[in-house]
């Protein structure tokens, strides 16, 4: 048993497992005692918020239509980090190029959905819900967690790191995953008293009653989850050591916290982090390079850290964004909202490579490349093949998995 795990179980022993009458949340409370949690497969999702310009990320420098449509923004053959004779990565993504050379970077091309919506909010909801109805109460990860506990009794959990709100993806009907901005902010203060009030038996008794479906019920469930998480995580930071240097970027710091939690065998099976700023309507080149550099260096440090701890093989990481950008650049040295785009998966099993078909840049839908791979096929792959949870009940219909997992 690792030191981390021993410390963690010790912590459990002192904090105790919260038990509540009624349909209490299982979040962070069960599965902790099970040794089987060690080394279980974990999925990390990175949301590239704002609509990432896929064409300047995985660059079709061999395609004249790309070069013509983007006289100011095109990145040419000389600058791109070559993947093959016609495609290259953005020059800021050397970390991803290394993962590609190690056959750990899967690139899925032309990902999107039918009748693309170019509203950030609507399209992000579609991606996170994996559903097209207007009022979408749950996300795809949340539904998976709901179904897993209902069908198998396994209290799988998710954790959202660095979020200022709970992402729709992770919201289930029963499950309200914790969001942890920074570990140091995730501490209960007691303002003069011995223990925080919410850690007392009286408080726990007061929140124990429940009526299903109401806002109050939601508040009680999420409050209990928060208290339990805070009690579990209280001494986590003392138990973690890493020899791998992380960049100072926000994303890197968040991924380091994810690595910390994975190493401590917390019961979360899905982690969700966000990198914001991809809405590059104007002066795109410098800002986009910074963002892609941040993504690439943070992910690369994250896997180096996990590899060092022998956990790299049990973690898969996938990026997504609400849409790509238009093929043609606009008049402000930027690009406007588009449709299909690329996404990345870091796969531990040496299944790197190109998946899906790159969309034609001459046969466009209202100025945008048409999607060739439904995004729900990516989710089906992550669910069926990686987490080994059936995707059909989560997605509402069957989608053929891809072969990166």
């Amino acid at each position: 048993m690792s030191t981390n795990r021993r410390d963690f179980l010790k912590l459990l022993g002192t904090a105790g497992v919260v038990s509540l009458a009624g349909p209490a949340p299982s979040l962070w409370s069960s599965a902790l005692g099970a040794e089987a949690a060690k080394g279980e497969r974990v999925l990390v999702l990175i949301q590239m918020a704002g609509g990432n310009d896929g064409l300047n990320t995985v660059i079709p420098f061999g395609d004249d239509a790309y070069l013509k449509a983007r006289p100011a923004l095109a990145i040419g053959k000389g600058a791109a980090l070559k993947l093959n004779d016609t495609l290259g990565l953005h020059p800021a993504m050397s970390g991803f190029r290394d993962l590609w050379e190690a056959s750990r970077l899967a690139i899925v091309q032309g990902v999107g959905y039918p009748k693309p919506d170019r509203s950030h909010f609507r399209s992000m909801d579609i991606w996170q819900a994996a559903h097209f109805s207007e009022r979408i109460p749950t996300g795809w990860v949340g539904r998976m967690l709901d179904q897993t506990v209902a069908q198998t009794g396994m209290a799988w959990e998710a954790a959202c790191i660095g979020q200022d709100k709970l992402p729709l993806s992770c919201l289930g009907e029963r499950v309200v995953p914790p969001t942890i901005q920074r570990l140091e902010e995730f501490r209960l203060t007691s303002a003069g008293r011995e223990t925080a009030l919410v850690s007392t038996a009286a408080w726990k008794q007061a929140v124990s009653s429940s009526e299903s479906g109401s806002e109050l019920d939601f508040l009680r469930r999420s409050a209990t989850s928060a208290v339990t998480s805070a009690e579990r995580l209280a001494s986590l930071s003392k138990t973690y050591r890493s020899a791998t240097p992380y960049p100072s970027s926000r994303l890197a710091q968040q991924l380091q916290l994810v690595a910390q939690m994975i190493t401590a065998d917390l019961p979360a099976r899905v982690y969700f982090v966000t990198l914001d700023g991809f809405d590059t309507h104007s002066q795109q080149l410098p800002g986009h390079a910074v963002l892609l550099g941040e993504l690439s260096s943070a992910v690369s440090a994250f896997f180096a850290d996990l590899d060092e701890k022998g956990r790299g093989d049990s973690v898969m990481l996938t990026t997504f964004s609400e849409f790509g950008r238009r093929l043609a650049e606009n008049g402000s040295l930027g690009t406007d909202h588009g449709a299909a785009s690329v996404l990345f998966t870091v796969t531990p099993a040496g299944k790197g490579g190109l998946y899906g078909t790159a969309p034609s840049l001459t046969d466009l839908d209202d100025g945008d490349p048409k999607f060739t791979t439904d995004f729900r096929r990516v989710y089906a792959t992550l669910l069926d093949r990686w987490l080994q949870r059936p995707s059909q009940p989560v997605l509402g219909e069957a989608f053929a998995p891809l072969d990166f997992a």
Binding site: P177, T179, E185, R193
Partner: protein
């Protein structure tokens, strides 16, 4: 038939001001619903103390061009004013036309926009939207300046339909592209709106099936006359002031009120607050408090000598940084406010209210009243009935713990 008892009065006041105390509840019950509404919707004189302190805070913020000071000024204003409905309506429009200093980068522009919401927000939406479309902060925020004849920028045209006047599903991508051309040349010069004729596309546009040589104002008028507009405003009003998921039938009724009042805001809000549905048990205590509601609604009734810079930082940390909404969509609100970190931060704040001087000093009479006569305060603190278990826990608690225990309950997060 509305029974305007202490619980109903507390509900009304919680929705129209920031928090409530037992004296305010008693006064409202004594005066009755109509007189209370008339008072809340009629300008009341400000105290000399408030007028002086708010002017000092504002002048300092503008003089030093400090957005942080401006945030503190507004929070102080919301809590201290004798006209809370005006500030609630101002906050409503700030969330509706959500504009962030983080892109605008001008304190005078953000101040002017805030004044605009305060001056015009209770009146005609026609005038408000027309003015906002030319508001300098908005022109920077949604790239009006980058919208040129040969390179139309769709940012404002999209949001005026999606987020400001109509809502999703009431227009096409084509409508947005055409409308963007109508707004071309709506630029800024020396910090003011400037119609740049040379960059305006004066050719034909087709929007909502109508064709003409539309300019920006014509598009705004088309939006204002669109049947989706009153419905959209009705939805936003209900969602903010009444209930998170309003029924389609209720939205239709309030949309009809907007049509009746020619899109004038305050009279519609007042009529909604006068309707029996507003007092239904499916409305009371169903809204999760926003950070501003939680923080000001706690400090105003309970504390004195409030430390505004700390309050400003706290509100931002809790997820509602005024003058800096996360996107043009504003704050999502509802359940989106609540997540594990938010709980920890909310509890830490509430624990500081009773156990430290970090955000202000607990009024001594409040501390005593709650220890001695908790009953009066239960109606003020809780918008939802307490379960028997919870009542028992509160009764059993030592008197000095009752307030802090009350504030830590999930029930306290509802209004």
């Amino acid at each position: 038939m509305i029974t305007f008892d202490t619980s109903a009065a507390a509900h009304l006041l919680r929705r129209l001001q920031f928090g409530v105390n037992p004296e305010e509840i008693d006064r409202a019950v004594r005066e009755g619903l109509d007189a209370t509404l008339d008072r809340l919707f009629t300008p009341q004189p400000e105290t000399a103390e408030f007028t002086a302190s708010q002017a000092a805070l504002r002048d300092a913020a503008v003089a030093t061009a400090s957005i942080q000071d401006l945030k503190a000024w507004w929070l102080h204003r919301m809590a201290g004013t004798a006209n809370p409905v005006t500030e609630k309506v101002t906050l409503f429009w700030h969330n509706h036309f959500a504009t962030s200093y983080n892109k605008v980068l001008s304190v005078p522009m953000m101040t002017a926009q805030n004044d605009l919401f305060r001056t015009l927000g209770s009146g005609s939406f026609r005038q408000l939207l027309t003015t906002v479309a030319r508001d300098p902060a908005m022109l920077v925020w949604l790239d009006g300046n980058a919208n040129r004849k040969r390179h139309p920028n769709e940012n404002f045209a999209r949001e005026v339909m999606e987020l400001f006047a109509l809502g999703l599903g009431n227009y096409t991508e084509r409508d947005i592209q055409e409308a963007a051309r109508a707004f071309s040349g709506w630029h800024l010069r020396e910090g003011r709106f400037w119609f740049n004729d040379s960059q305006h596309d004066s050719s034909d546009k087709t929007v909502f099936g109508k064709t003409g040589k539309f300019d920006g104002q014509a598009i705004i008028n088309l939006c204002l006359d669109h049947p989706a507009c009153p419905r959209f405003l009705a939805f936003k009003l209900l969602r903010t002031f009444v209930v998170t998921e309003p029924s389609p039938a209720w939205i239709d009724r309030v949309a009809a009120l907007f049509t009746k009042h020619d899109l004038t805001f305050a009279p519609v809000l007042k009529e909604v607050c006068r309707s029996p549905e507003f007092y239904g048990s499916d409305v009371r205590g169903t809204i999760i408090k926003s950070p501003v509601e939680l923080v000001l609604g706690t400090l105003r009734p309970l504390c004195e000598r409030i430390r505004w810079p700390a309050v400003r930082d706290l509100s931002a940390q809790l997820g509602q940084d005024v003058f800096a909404p996360p996107s043009v969509k504003g704050w999502d609100g509802g359940r989106q406010w609540i997540h594990a970190t938010a709980w920890i931060q909310r509890w830490n704040f509430l624990s500081d209210v009773t156990g430290s001087e970090r955000y202000g000093s607990l009024r001594s009479e409040v501390r005593e009243a709650i220890a001695q006569q908790p009953h009066d305060w239960v109606t003020a603190l809780f918008a939802t009935p307490l379960s028997d278990t919870t009542r028992e826990v509160l009764t059993k608690a030592v008197p000095s713990d009752r307030l802090s225990l009350s504030l830590s309950l999930p029930e306290y997060q509802l209004m």
